[in-house]
Subunit: 414 residues, 2 copies
């Protein structure tokens, strides 16, 4: 098993060295050819996918839905690949440069990370998406997806690798780990000799497992216990529109709002209005003591653990706060450092909130749902980083790269 992983790792490292020198125009041609191949070979992929779907005993419907491919979905995936071809290539950019007192010319140049490991669940779209984002950013990728999607993933990899081969590029730029045991996953997370970065994509549980067991540097993505604070100066209609959007437009994702903090001064006026709007959208409300007093039996009492839960569902918890200080302090204590918003018409309050709240994305008068690589204009997204090292917030192609210093001298010694 260790032997298998070492072989895969070494192959990836060698392939990455070649890929790092491939010009952007070639990479874009390859991406378009990959998109075409995925469409042309749809029947083969669907056949492999059917094999994976042959036994779905005990799997949830949501799980099966994510695992299932159709011709339409594949066309959408192929279109995504073409969009990556259109993104600008961050590699080779000189981030900064200067000449030292000793006359050395230093440039900090953007280069690939090298080998990226992706650990994810049974979602074939993540296979394609991760492979092409890593490819465009000059990285070899090792994909370790959920075992339920293994046949589909292997077939997709075969197709992408054949395209790489047709362009005389090393096929090992894209590799799928075909053995899906728990033990192998553990070893994969400790393959420091060959893997430069590990990105887990999926549920909070998957991510926590990777963080707990990996020795390879990890980019933590995902969990979002996001808050909206409605200030006493807020435009209440704007507050209602934003809360409803942030909670209900897509409740299952990490940038959906989970908690509503309301200034005590406007609570008696605002709470009945927002409660009605939430009820119309079938959102369950859990309230702190004061909220329950105002809203009565429209709400059930929130438990202490409610303030830390990411519901990912049609549920919201509401807390009344005395003012901005309490709101900031509650958020900094309970948030997952993802996305936080204030609704206000007060300039000072907007400043204090954006300065003091500790999160990847801090909003004034907008929905937390905008925390997204596409909405940010990055054109793609490999995930939303909730850690502070390397990348914070939506990660696009640039966040899949690193830099190196190139130093040109004329014989300098110390």
């Amino acid at each position: 098993m260790t032997e298998l992983l070492n072989k895969i790792g070494k192959q990836a490292q060698i392939a990455a060295q070649t890929l790092a020198q491939v010009p952007t125009s070639t990479k874009n041609q390859v991406l378009c050819a990959m998109a075409d191949a995925l469409e042309e070979r749809t029947p083969e992929i669907l056949e492999a996918n059917q094999a994976d779907l042959a036994d779905t005993t005990g799997l949830e419907d949501k799980f099966i839905d994510r695992l299932t491919l159709t011709a339409d979905r594949l066309a959408g995936i192929a279109d995504g690949v073409r969009k990556v071809a259109n993104l600008s290539d961050p590699l080779g950019n000189i981030e900064r440069g200067w000449t030292t007192d000793s006359g050395l010319e230093i440039s900090q140049k953007r280069v690939p990370l090298g080998v990226v490991g992706i650990i994810y669940e049974a979602r074939p779209n993540v296979t394609v998406d991760s492979a092409v984002l890593c490819f465009k950013s000059g990285n070899a990728v090792i994909l370790r997806g959920g075992k339920e999607a293994l046949q589909t993933n292997i077939k997709i990899a075969v197709i992408l690798r054949e395209v790489l081969g047709a362009f005389n590029l090393p096929k090992d730029i894209v590799q799928v780990v075909a053995e899906t045991s728990h033990e192998l996953a553990q070893q994969f997370m400790r393959l420091n000799e060959y893997i430069d970065v590990l990105i887990p994509r999926g549920s909070a549980r998957l991510i926590q497992t990777v963080v707990a067991h990996a020795t390879v540097p990890v980019i933590e993505t995902g969990a979002g216990n996001c808050h909206i604070y409605v200030d006493e100066t807020a435009d209440l209609q704007m507050a209602i529109d934003i809360v409803i959007n942030a909670k209900t437009q897509r409740p299952s994702v990490c940038n959906a709002t989970e908690k509503l903090l309301v200034n005590a001064a406007i609570a008696p006026d605002f709470l009945p209005q927002i409660a009605q709007a939430l009820a119309s959208s079938h959102v369950e409300i859990r309230g702190d003591e004061q909220t329950c007093q105002i809203l009565g039996d429209q709400v059930r009492p929130a438990q202490p653990e409610d303030w830390d839960i990411e519901y990912n569902d049609y549920i919201i918890a509401i807390k009344i706060v005395d003012g901005l200080d309490e709101a900031v302090s509650h958020i900094n204590q309970h948030n997952t450092k993802h996305s936080e918003a204030i609704i206000t018409t007060d300039y000072e309050h907007s400043q204090q909130f954006t300065q003091q709240v500790d999160a990847a994305c801090v909003y004034v008068n907008a929905s937390t749902r905008f925390t997204d690589g596409f909405e940010f204009g990055f054109g793609a997204e490999i995930g939303i980083s909730t850690q502070k090292l390397h990348a914070r917030g939506p990660m696009g192609l640039k966040e899949l790269t690193t830099t190196k210093y190139v130093i040109l001298g004329q014989g300098q010694i110390r």
Copy 2:
């Protein structure tokens, strides 16, 4: 024990929130007052240091030397603190900003990491240095140093904390972990709830232990198996000067050169010259087969493991290569991705080397010894990152920070 660490962690987190809002001018005043206090209270610090030095049974001389403070050394440390006061503050800088199609104004603003954990050996200078660099970059710091320096570290922390208190700042901006058991160190590395980043500073062994056991994100620093490749077009006198400087100016540090690769075409001419220069500097040579053939009994044969060892000593291993491709491939296989140099007069070769060698710093015609925060002009250094995430190469104040996105809207929803 867990209770102690949770308490320290929580205190650091609260202190960090206050520190994040402190203006640069105040921080600089505090730093100058810290420098003064360290000098004024030299007798107290030396007394604590003597207590640590009371029993040095079994410790190496080098170890004792690093642990020992004198009035002169303390004056030097205080001067270092004043220099940090003079550095420009990276916080608050807007790294980039744009307006999205939906009219959101996004700015990416530089902010502190939050709480930084430092794990290091019995070197009291690292206590001061880490504390003030973290302070200037807006981070609370938790210092876990070697147990042999505990009394000194506690005394230094008391003094720095009193200065913080005198400026009405939270003393918990600087905390020393006073219990130095192995078990506590292990728990410290897994304190994800409170520590944002862990930086090990010290030996390769210390760093590897932290990488293997930490779940908190780690910035890996240190190990340097650095190479110089002497191209067939090199100015041989320049090559000799650079090799002697890179090997002997300070052999114990990570940016010292450990390996010399020589193009076969110039080996018969160059090797006797460099061997003589190395002999004059008391450097032991270990050679591959061809090197041994040319230099005879001036060298001992290199063993396979020699190509991966960081000697940190007056030892160098020499290998003859057929050309640039072999040099690049040998370096990428054996280096620690720290600093690599080519000596050449050929433009194409300089380009190929800087493009293909995978390392934090790649040099043309200069000594690898320049990989250093001060030499780079950063004015300070918390270490040299050899990993690819977050920071690569010398890390100054900017590398002790992260960013957050501030998004200003007018009621936008998706």
